[in-house]
Assembly symmetry: none
DNA sequence: AATGAATGAGTTTTCATTCAT
DNA sequence: TATGAATGAAAACTCATTCAT
């Protein structure tokens, strides 16, 4: 004789959109802290203040929730890129702004890096399967290419710089600093995450790239 | 009772060093594939072909095993650095060699990156607690500093380049490329991990840094 | 920071064979009472008095445990069949003995029927996948065939009786009575499971089959 | 506020009878496939194309829905029995028709058997609690009794055959064949569910019973 | 009458760890 | 040193049921 199960009774606010949002926010935090494997669905739902089942109701499973978080952070990056207005700037200034924006975005969203770690380890399995991310190609490589060409034409940039790799370099110079600060600080025995160190790093990256582009 | 026959049970080779090594190798692979949280002690011992209990016998627990793997990969890096013989080289060549060695090491040991990810997410908790790693400070920052000074004195490098940040940049330009190839490839829609793409990247990184150091 | 998990501490008797047996016994009972879907692994391990994980340690999963139970009850049937010594008996007596044995086995093992129900609903998925059951073909169809031939030759059985179907009929006449006693009793409004009713049924089945075999 | 537009939300057909019917049909399928414990209320409502809550609205709970399905299939059987017109037939033909009708009904409604399995395992709990089923006593036992008497009087049937048990035998000879075809086929290594095998079985059952009734 | 969001108690399975041998 | 049986605490995911709308 199967015991009848109980069913809920607490007062329930009906706000699906808010529920979804709360789950996403909690998930982003939990995935950033503990990774995909280390994140706990229980913790996510508890911190969102909603029933655990709603994770499955709204997203399907833990993996799909992780993908939704990835889509969110990529969306943020694309939005930041859209806001960057590099048209009309001098080539050097445009590259400078781009680097600073990239650096500042990582500084403002330190979880982006750790969220991507598991995805890269897994061969970008989620990203590849996402229709939404497919539609989110960054316009920046084209932009970099255009700026490089202008600079070359104006005689202020050297020739032969690969725009894709330059873009990767700009990202990597900031990314690695943020992603590996803890081990680097431990190994070097000095705190690289202080505001001063961060300012130094920002200036260094801008310098490095701009100096390297000189003809 | 008959005298004990050696064929009655499985042959148990008593070779502690070999057992330890097999466990470490299996652990390195498993941690690289699945991260600290995602790694399974069962899988590690099974792949090592030894009993699970020996993980605890030799290392204490899963975390300590992870630390042992970290120590191993750091040891490899230090050894590679020791082998680098930059003394006596012209400054530009010395920097070039350093960059290439850094790039090549990551290419040869792709697991180094993913092994570090969890450690950085966790605030370098293990690294900080390790006596062995404390004693393994890299001599490279000093080396970079020396090379920079020589270059400046010889009039072939510009002044004012922070050696710590240059070192971080050199590492980051390669590191990010290797660590984020899967997502970058997915987002850009082109395979960045091909041998040709890798050669391009290597040349780009050397170029970028050397060009940026010009006076 | 993943909390270290606890691990057991209670006194443990080391007797793998006994543990396996206890699990099987408890599983047989639970599957018989509640079916495959309705059975609870928790209940099984609790009643066996062992840790739940041992179900997975010894059997793999719930389905494999169910298969092990099926193999057990089939083994019992085959053993009972082996014990039946029909050789040398007069054909009528041989058939009579066979029917009675079949009836008595179901009476003694009422769980056999309910254990098979889910298996038949599922298309015999487990049975088909079992090496052990493959090797357990019943010798009885051949035996029935032989008895029928003898009876026909002796002029006491009619010709043209299909031995496979006769075997199925013998089984079915008892099986249905035992499997459907509850609903039949409810519908007829009389208790068909009383000892008297059971004796009646047994006699009826033997009669029905033997009378039908007359030339 | 604008006047309510009918196109604003999904069209909701108000057809309680149809909704009930769709739920029952979906439930019958789901219970037959997965049993009482294995059936999913979600699956039932989804397949019925109606909201899950309506299960509770119309039937109360899962158990009551299961009972409603049982009542439905019993109703079908009774209706088929009512259609059987055995009056006026010769006793042998009457019995023959009865057996064939019984066989054909199971062949046409293979879910009847699996629907009853859980009920029998549960001690006919639902059937016993149903007013509707109480009122549905089969008239067939009386009919069989009458036919037997006629046959005995006419000298074509032997005496002493218990009509209740004959009825159970008739049912069982077909029921077991249909209910256990999967395991029997697996064990015998031959497909007992083919049309040819089914025809054989039908003939065998009619034969067996009629031959057994000879004086 | 109808919807689907929300609930709480499970349910199978997994896992790091420890104990007896 | 080595084995594998045993443990307890979760972990992801499920389910019947109920509530607000």
């Amino acid at each position: 004789m199967p015991s009848k199960r109980s069913g809920g009774s607490r007062p329930q606010r009906r706000d699906p959109a808010a529920t979804r949002r709360k789950l996403l926010t909690a998930a982003r935090r939990e995935f950033a802290r503990n990774g995909l494997a280390g994140a706990r669905v229980d913790e996510i739902s508890a911190r969102a203040g909603v029933n655990k089942q709603l994770v499955y109701h709204y997203f399907g499973d833990k993996d799909a929730l992780y993908l939704a978080v990835l889509e969110w952070v990529y969306e943020e990056i694309r939005e930041q890129e859209r806001k960057l207005n590099l048209e009309g700037l001098a080539p050097q200034e445009a590259i400078g702004r781009l680097i600073e924006a990239s650096f500042d975005h990582l500084a403002a969203h330190p979880d982006f890096i750790v969220l991507l770690n598991d995805e890269n380890r897994g061969g970008a399995r989620h990203v590849r399967g996402s229709r939404r991310l497919e539609a989110m190609h960054s316009p920046l490589v084209k932009m970099v290419s255009k700026i490089l060409n202008e600079g070359v034409r104006a005689g202020i940039f050297r020739k032969g710089v690969n725009p894709v790799h330059l873009y990767i370099s700009i990202a990597g110079l900031s990314y690695f600093y943020f992603s590996n600060t803890p081990t680097l600080s431990a190994i070097f025995g000095k705190d690289l995450s202080s505001p001063a160190a961060r300012r130094d790093r920002r200036r260094h990256v801008v310098d490095l790239v701009l100096q390297s582009l000189r003809p």
